[in-house]
């Protein structure tokens, strides 16, 4: 049998390779200075989903909530092996905190229909909250397995996974459908040349219309034809609005976000003087006491 695995991913600013000022004077993130990338742990989640496809046979559906240009991560997912993509986009979604985001994603999953697994990266490098995955499971009322490294087995109605704990690892089993958050435990496969050559043409309906922005209305028919063409070749990226997924407008975007950012502080850690410790029992003992006293240890 074939399973359905939904992977929710996020396009994030690359906090590792900062060009220019990362923050605007008002304390918000300066996205223009930060190249947009595939959130690293979401790539691990996608890789795990693709491994499940290789091992057990599965349809891998990738969804993301974001602005229209977030299709970049969806195409990148297609290049790696995803089968179907959904862009959840609407001005109404803007300014969402984790609560509003997980609500929107839950509507998206419900609209998609039947699934066996939902995979998310543990957390995104822009917010580092690790809340969206668990909240999504709660909203869908399905069990959750957090911090998963690998799937040991998958069958019709249950899954067993592995996660590392201090001093070893544990094996967990859960009935499906289930949501997992995935940590960096695999090496994401590279994008595939043949898939790039095919799926670089994948478009949402809005992108297709934009490609034809200069055309006059007599092209409308050819536009429809082209959209049908994309569908036939499995190159159409679904584009769903808040209304499409039946989301309550009051629960998405800024209105649905109780989190209010009070203040953002840029903390710069400066290095102090170096200190040498004698490699003797006494020297080490002194150091440990000192660390305990200033609460670095204990």
């Amino acid at each position: 049998m074939s399973y359905t695995v939904i992977v929710f991913v996020k396009q994030v600013p690359d906090t590792q390779n900062i060009t220019g000022d990362a923050m605007k004077p008002d304390g918000t993130v300066n996205r223009a200075a930060l190249p947009a990338i595939f959130n690293p742990e979401d790539l691990n989640a996608l890789e795990l989903a693709l491994q499940l496809k290789d091992r057990f046979g599965a349809k891998v559906v990738v969804g993301t909530m974001g602005p229209p240009n977030a299709t970049a991560v969806l195409r990148a997912s297609l290049y790696r092996g995803a089968d179907e993509c959904i862009l959840l986009t609407d001005r109404a979604f803007a300014g969402a905190d984790t609560l509003a985001t997980s609500y929107a994603l839950s509507c998206c999953a419900k609209k998609y229909g039947k699934f066996d697994l939902i995979l998310c990266g543990r957390q995104a490098i822009d917010g580092d909250t690790a809340q969206v995955g668990p909240q999504l499971a709660e909203k869908l009322a399905i069990p959750q397995l957090a911090y998963v490294e690998d799937v040991i087995d998958l069958s019709k109605d249950k899954v067993s996974v592995k996660r590392t704990i201090e001093g070893g690892y544990e094996v967990l089993e859960a009935p499906t459908p289930v949501l997992m958050t995935v940590i960096e435990g695999n090496e994401p496969r590279p994008m595939n040349a043949t898939r790039i050559m095919k799926y670089k043409r994948a478009r949402t309906r809005s992108e297709l219309a934009k490609d034809h922005a200069d055309a006059n209305y007599t092209d409308a028919e050819s536009l429809v034809e082209e959209a049908d063409n994309l569908v036939a070749k499995n190159l159409l990226i679904h584009e769903w609005s808040a209304e499409d997924v039946g989301a309550d407008k009051g629960r998405v975007g800024l209105p649905g976000s109780p989190t209010k950012v009070k203040k953002i502080q840029s903390v710069i850690l400066t290095g102090g003087d170096a200190k040498s410790v004698e490699p003797t029992e006494a020297g080490i003992s002194d150091l440990i006491h000192e660390l305990i006293e200033d609460h670095t240890l204990g």
Binding site: P190, N192, A193, T194
Partner: protein, 571 residues
């Protein structure tokens, strides 16, 4: 996230400026394939976009995945026990990454699951793979085996093997060398015979076979009993089986990651691949030409890696209170290394472009019904150009790799002699490049005919006619003087009609030709990008004294080496 493509300015310049329009259109059947295959490009811009996107992926895999594993692969290498070769796990992972990237059938037709890329783009991939791990190139760079089956095999052989090569399900080996047949392949002895049902079998030995443990082998064998020369040889394809025994694998100076095997054929069932008796003259020559390009790219990749390390070290290492790259002796070395690399890259991709055009036009001559005179002439022209450029390029690239690796250690000083830094690995890996697939001396033999017959003349004149001004015009005049002298030297040697003398000075003549040809390529590139003027200037000024030295040797008519070498050697 590093990337060997996007972070290599010269390679990006090369892709952007390499005119593959004609080769790409013909390969894609004037973009008609786009109607049949989702992945086929619909015009040249689309094809270029594909090349660039895929090279970016390969650049990333090479820098992020393969390069960090290279040291461990070098230390461990493949394992051999009970007749079975097992590759080091990280080598297996490298191959898997490249298979996942979908570049295992880069040049194969769309219908076999390949990318149908020109050799030029494939060569860029191999260059990056070599930079990351030179030994891996000996596995990844074996795609010419599938190409040879594609060009010479029967339809059944193509249908059977090519999709498997494209997906990476099978790997290949080309079994040519024997204990007594190295440079002299005409003397190959491995016997091919038929039973009463017409089934072929192979019997004998092969040595120094790269990836001899492969699943699919192309084997050069003597199919005509009683013959002793190249006309009795045919090419066969066979599969890994109990009758094909790996006797041992070699313990080598470098390229540790790949197995180099000695093979014993105990009546191995095989199929003829290509025409009987034309094994050496057709299939092997095509295979070797492809392999020579692959080794040139391997050499260039090693040189790039060595230069990168040398430059980094020279910037970081402080002596006498300043970084050592501030000292003339060191920056002179770095400048020469970089200039040689850029010059070699210019020659390599000019060569692959000729190879691509040769391929599309010779295919046309073989398969097109209504071939025009012009198309036939083009095929002939590109065969000739590729034939002289390929060995010239292999000789230059592989010698440059050795020089650059040597200098890279020199810049590191004592540290470079230690295993703690990767430059000693580059030095060891580079050393085989000017030996296998034909030594530099043999490349000279292959190139000298074309040089003596002025096969580069059209292209050199075409380049000289470009609108150079100012410094570039003055540099062009310098190269034009070289060229006059070259013509004088060629005439001098030709008139002499002394084959021994011609052989003696052949290397000088081929290298002189390369200075001229590459000098013009460097000037051409300087016209396209003013930042490259300094590179052209440095190359041509450096070439001057080296050219003059060779010119003097050729024109000396000095026969003392021929007459007295024995006495000197035996003293």
């Amino acid at each position: 996230m590093a990337n060997f493509f996007t972070e290599n300015k010269d390679l990006q310049f090369t892709l952007a400026n390499l005119d593959l329009k004609e080769a790409s259109a013909l390969r894609e059947n004037n973009y008609e394939y786009a109607k049949e295959f989702d992945v086929a490009p619909c015009d040249y811009a689309d094809a270029q976009d594909n090349y660039e996107r895929v090279l970016k992926v390969v650049g990333e895999v090479c820098a992020d995945n393969i390069a960090p594993r290279a040291e461990e692969v070098d230390e461990n290498g493949p394992h051999f026990a009970d007749g079975v070769v097992t590759y080091y796990p990280l080598t297996v992972q490298n191959i898997k990454d490249l298979d996942n990237a979908g570049v295992s059938g880069a040049m194969l037709d769309h219908k076999y699951g390949g990318l149908n890329f020109p050799a030029s783009v494939y060569t860029m991939m191999t260059e990056m793979v070599s930079r990351a791990d030179a030994s891996l190139q000996n596995l990844f760079g074996l795609q010419d085996i599938a190409e040879t089956i594609s060009d010479y095999g029967t339809q059944e052989q193509k249908d059977k093997y090519l999709p498997l090569f494209a997906s990476g399900e099978v790997d290949g080996a080309m079994d040519l060398t024997e204990p007594d047949s190295g440079s002299d392949l005409q003397s190959v002895r491995l016997r091919a015979y038929q039973d009463e049902n017409g089934q072929w079998f192979l019997n004998g030995m092969k040595r120094f076979i790269t990836n001899g443990c492969a699943k699919v082998h192309l084997v050069l064998a003597r199919s005509e009993e009683g013959t002793v020369d190249g006309r009795g040889l045919s090419m066969f394809v066979c599969e890994k089986c109990p009758e094909l025994v790996v006797r041992r694998i070699e313990n080598k100076l470098g390229i540790h990651g790949v197995a180099t095997a000695e093979l014993q054929y105990n009546d191995v069932p095989a199929e003829l691949c290509g025409q009987r008796r034309r094994g050496l003259t057709k299939a092997v020559m095509s295979l070797m030409n492809g392999a020579r390009i692959a080794i040139s790219a391997q050499a260039l990749g090693i040189a790039e890696a060595a230069f990168f390390e040398a430059r980094k070290y020279a910037e970081e290492r402080k002596q006498f209170k300043k970084s050592i790259d501030k000292f003339p002796a060191v920056y002179d070395m770095l400048t020469r290394m970089k200039t040689k690399i850029v010059a070699t890259r210019a020659l390599l991709y000019e060569t692959t472009r000729a190879v691509d055009l040769r391929y599309v036009y010779t295919q046309m001559v073989e398969h097109k019904a209504d071939i025009t005179v012009e198309e036939r002439q083009k095929a002939k022209y590109w065969v000739r150009v590729a034939a002289v450029l390929t060995p010239m390029c292999k000789a230059q690239a592989t010698e440059v790799a050795n020089q650059v690796a040597y200098d890279a250690i020199q810049i590191h000083g004592g540290t470079g002699f230690m295993k703690d830094f990767p430059v000693e690995r580059f030095y060891r890996d580079a050393r085989i490049t000017n030996i296998y697939e034909g030594t530099t001396q043999l490349q000279v033999v292959a190139a000298i005919g074309g040089v003596m017959q002025h096969h580069n003349e059209d292209r050199i004149k075409e380049l000289m006619a470009l609108p150079f001004e100012g410094m570039l015009a003055r540099l062009k005049d310098k190269v034009a003087t070289f060229y006059e002298k070259q013509l004088e030297a060629i005439k001098y040697v030709a008139v002499k009609k002394d084959t021994e003398y011609q052989s003696l000075v052949a290397q000088c003549l081929v290298e002189m030709e390369a200075f001229i040809f590459v000098g013009m390529l460097m000037l051409r590139d300087a016209l396209k990008d003013s930042e490259r003027e300094v590179l052209a200037e440095r190359y041509i000024l450096d070439a001057e004294s080296q050219f003059e030295e060779r010119f003097m040797r050729v024109m000396s008519g000095d026969l003392t080496t021929i007459d007295k070498h024995r006495e000197i050697i035996d003293y």
